[in-house]
């Protein structure tokens, strides 16, 4: 456990240098040559320009900061009060020329930062016309992606060196789309579409993170992002669509349970999370279940299907009406989920 090692290092500083205790080693996923102490790998066409601008501001800041601290230390040591030094030396209490100089000169640097930042932002904010379009649905707490073929998946797969435009919307509250390696981010807002585009330049697996606070599952609202080499994306799409068509319903249900984010609110072991446990639902199969409005419903296929498609229609007693409509969910997946939930009351559970 790295933490134990860190605690030990408090008492044995020599162990510091040899390990990753100061955070100098890079995350395993970012062993690429373009990853460094500050940044993860550069995996989109924006990254090199953004990092260059960041480093430009960084070195200017370092210059000014060192200057300020150096003068501060110099003055404190040189002009420090001592037994014999109790009166200041004569010096001006203002100097308009000097003050104007240090007010105006840095402004040129600020204009440079602004201009570079703005022109780069325009590139980031302007999707090219012929980009591959992917519909993104964000909800508490998961993501799904609908590809041009109509296939919906909980992972974002894209081909390398191809512009991709995301058309994003939220089913409930604000979310935000961020892939650190792509250096791009945009909020996903309910009630309107927002857009984001990127051109992946590096084959590999990354992670999409939600960066707008959205409640209990905010830090778990992630999705796998895969950048395929040439031809790989089409192959993956074919396989993924095929799996959806040919998979056994219960296995498809189990896969959907994991991929669509059901697991964040519905446990399999009876634990009460944001929503009722599927184990409890399964154990009530064929029986009545109490609802928040005081009425009852029989737990069967129709009840489950309605609850997936219209989550607010039948809210179980003791729970809040929290569940979003999962954008893009397929009939096959719903059927699979029902089979999967049913199976949870089996002899093995």
């Amino acid at each position: 456990m790295i933490r134990t090692a860190m605690l030990q290092s408090l008492f044995d500083p020599s162990s510091l240098a040899s390990s990753n205790l100061l955070g100098f080693a890079l995350p395993a996923a970012d062993s690429a040559a373009d990853a460094n102490y500050w940044f993860p790998a550069q995996a989109s066409s924006f990254a090199a320009d953004m990092d260059a601008l960041w480093y430009f501001i960084y070195w200017v800041s370092v210059f000014f900061f060192i200057g300020i601290v150096a003068f501060m230390v110099l003055f404190v040591t040189r002009y420090r009060r001592t037994a014999t030094r109790t009166q200041p030396e004569r010096s001006a209490s203002h100097n308009t020329a000097l003050e104007l100089t240090w007010s105006i000169l840095p402004a040129f640097l600020l204009v440079a930062f602004f201009y570079w930042g703005w022109t780069s932002f325009l590139v980031i904010a302007t999707p090219p016309r012929d980009a591959m379009e992917v519909q993104v649905g964000a909800y508490k707490w998961g993501w799904n992606f609908t590809y041009p073929s109509g296939h919906t998946d909980s992972e974002l797969h894209v081909p390398t060196d191809r512009e991709v435009k995301l058309i994003m919307s939220s089913a409930d509250v604000l979310h935000s789309f961020w892939v650190p390696e792509f250096r791009t981010k945009f909020d996903v807002v309910p009630g309107r579409y927002t857009y984001l585009w990127f051109k992946p330049t590096r084959v590999g697996e990354y992670q999409l993170k939600c960066t707008e606070y959205c409640g209990t599952g905010h830090s778990a609202m992630r999705a796998k992002v895969v950048v395929h080499e040439a031809g790989g994306f089409e192959k993956w799409l074919e396989q993924a669509e095929g799996a959806l068509l040919t998979m056994e319903p219960k296995a498809l249900g189990e896969l959907s349970y994991k991929k669509l984010g059901c697991a964040q609110c519905h446990s399999l072991d009876g634990t009460k999370l944001v929503g009722p446990s599927f184990k409890e639902t399964a154990s009530l199969w064929g029986n009545a279940r109490g609802l928040a409005d005081g009425s009852e419903v029989t737990v069967d296929e129709n009840y489950l299907r309605e609850s997936i498609l219209e989550p607010m229609a039948k809210v179980v007693a003791g729970y809040q009406p929290q569940m979003p409509v999962i954008p893009g969910i397929r009939e096959k997946q719903i059927a699979g989920l029902i089979e999967y939930i049913k199976s949870l009351s089996g002899p093995n559970q």
Binding site: N20, P40, F113, L174, K185, Y213, S219
Partner: protein, 561 residues
């Protein structure tokens, strides 16, 4: 002067120090404080109140840091964590940072610096204190009901749909807003109407310029927050669609309204801190502050420009690109007045006599930390780099360097600078320096690693991170830093309380300061001055000499006479 008091203390005393009657002992009992109109007592009550709020916010902060020391569940679940960071932010911003320096030290010092008996509207002043208390009660009520999990920003539609006590908290913030407005009004009226003959605008101590600029923002920006929060309450309670798209509202509108106040509020927090710094650098360099007019005018420039930059919180939230461009440009312009102040404080030290007392350690800390806080703002005002950094730990680190490294450090500097004046006691100088260094080191250890976490990919408000992400060591050191910071703050509390019991009697002017509050006794009499003071240059230290007899500084001509 009283012989009785001379007999009871062996410490050196100023010849004019501690008259028999001062504002602390001129009347006694609960009601003499509860319904006091004395700005000094109100300032002391505010000081106690905001310090308690700071303690509470600090406890929440330590809970947050402890949870993040390792991936996965450490001491609390995600819902509790969300409450902890929300309450930390809300309590720190609304109950501590906004009132901190103006309401406690501003209230105490402002009339004395003007040679006046009180603020312009003493009753309004007491009322704003009670509004603060009422607002605080509402916040405590959220704690004891279903808590609050919206983040201090109350972003819609999360805040209109969550089950926690959003209405209590927003009512609290609404009421605190009025407290803030009344304090601002009072200070504006006092500075305009009650400056003594001879004190023109450009002979005011710079702390007053800081408070004046702050008050302008408080009066003009806070009503917008009030209206926004009322609209939020109406939406929640009456289901009128304003911000929630499910009811036909617009969530981005809320962000505009919210930041229209909350960005200027950042300057409500930092301008008084800058005012304190101008006093500290001049006094402890024993030199006229360098470039008085530039510093004074830069406060006003920050106050004005502060109203025009709110959109830089929203580069990636769906506002138009043109609007974003304008906000980015104006944001950069505000860097200039801030830089002017830093350069002028540095120049103030040049050829001065630098006296490394506890308040001066805080002033030097401020220069270092606010330097980092200000410079890292450049990365965020730049549109394209902000795309990557927005809502990450880089932002968390940046605003803590400004709010803690700036405002809290200045609050502590002011506390140590005016403590002898407020309570008539000297604290232990050695422990004071140790505390200042502990805060400085603990703070940097806590927040510097967070810059790296942010650029590498750690989003803010995250309950959890994964082991493979490689964030654990940085989080570990950050948490260790927060413990050092907490321990140092406790040390400060201990020696300050101890000084009240057995501290040395404070002289009239322990630091050799030139402004008017250091010409009256420590603590001051009920009406501030026994003899109406004559107004001098607030930064004329030339004829101040150390007086062995009292352990403080006196004016040369006063000593000779």
């Amino acid at each position: 002067m009283s012989d009785i008091q001379l007999a009871t203390t062996s410490a050196p005393r100023a010849h004019a120090a501690e008259p028999e009657q001062n504002y602390l002992n001129c009347s006694r009992g609960f009601w003499s404080w509860a319904i006091t109109l004395d700005h000094k007592r109100i300032g002391v009550m505010y000081l106690a109140g905001v310090s308690f709020a700071f303690f509470l916010g600090g406890v929440f902060a330590l809970a947050v840091r402890t949870e993040l020391i390792a991936p996965g569940y450490t001491i609390m679940d995600a819902d509790t964590y969300n409450q902890m960071f929300t309450l930390h932010g809300a309590v720190m911003v609304f109950l501590f940072l906004i009132p901190s320096i103006p309401a406690s030290f501003g209230n105490f010092v402002l009339p004395v610096m003007l040679g006046a008996k009180d603020v312009a509207f003493p009753k309004l002043n007491l009322m704003s204190f009670y509004l603060w208390v009422t607002g605080a009660v509402f916040f405590v009520a959220t704690l004891f009901t279903s808590g609050l999990d919206t983040g201090w920003t109350f972003y819609t539609p999360y805040s209109t749909t969550t089950q926690t006590s959003v209405v209590f908290a927003t009512m609290g913030a609404f009421i605190l807003g009025f407290s803030s407005i009344f304090t601002g009004l009072n200070f504006i009226a006092t500075i305009h109407m009650m400056r003594p003959p001879g004190m023109g605008w450009f002979r005011m101590p710079l702390f007053l310029w800081g408070l004046y600029a702050t008050s302008l923002i408080q009066v003009l920006a806070t009503p917008v927050l009030g209206i926004t929060l009322l609209l939020l309450i109406v939406e929640r309670l009456a289901g009128v669609g304003i911000f929630d798209p499910a009811m036909g509202g617009d969530p981005v509108l809320f962000q505009h309204f919210f930041w229209f106040y909350s960005h200027p509020a950042v300057y409500i927090m930092i301008l008084p801190a800058m005012g304190v710094m101008s006093e500290l650098f001049a006094t402890f360099s024993r030199k006229h502050v360098f470039g008085y007019r530039f510093i004074a005018m830069s406060s006003v420039a920050i106050a004005v420009l502060g109203f025009l930059v709110w959109g830089h919180h929203m580069f990636v939230s769906g506002q138009s690109r043109l609007v974003g461009m304008v906000f980015s440009a104006i944001t950069f312009s505000i860097a200039i007045p801030s830089a002017i102040k830093v350069f002028n404080w540095l120049a103030t030290m040049y050829k001065g006599v630098i006296w490394l007392t506890t308040p001066m350690w805080y002033a030097l800390s401020f220069l270092f930390l606010f330097g980092i806080g200000g410079l890292t703002g450049l990365f965020l005002g730049t549109m394209s780099t902000d795309v990557h950094l927005h809502d990450t730990y880089f932002v968390v680190a940046h605003f803590h360097y400004v709010m803690v490294g700036g405002t809290l450090i200045a609050f502590l500097g002011a506390l140590h600078y005016w403590w002898p004046k407020m309570f008539g006691k000297m604290y232990n100088e050695k422990l004071g320096s140790i505390g200042a260094w502990g805060v400085f080191l603990g703070f940097n250890l806590t927040f510097f690693p967070q810059f790296v976490l942010g650029t590498r990919g750690m989003p803010r408000r995250y309950y959890n991170y994964e082991e493979w992400e490689g964030f654990e060591s940085l989080h570990f050191w950050s948490t260790m830093g927060s413990y050092l910071l907490g321990a140092s703050l406790m040390l400060i509390l201990v020696y300050l309380v101890q000084s009240l019991v057995k501290g040395k009697q404070a002289p009239v002017n322990p630091w050799g300061a030139a402004s008017l509050e250091f010409t009256t006794s420590s603590p001051p009499p009920h009406f501030n001055f026994d003899v109406t003071p004559t107004v001098g240059e607030p930064y004329d230290f030339d004829d101040l000499v150390f007086d062995e007899k009292t352990g403080g500084y006196v004016r040369q001509e006063a000593r000779n006479s």
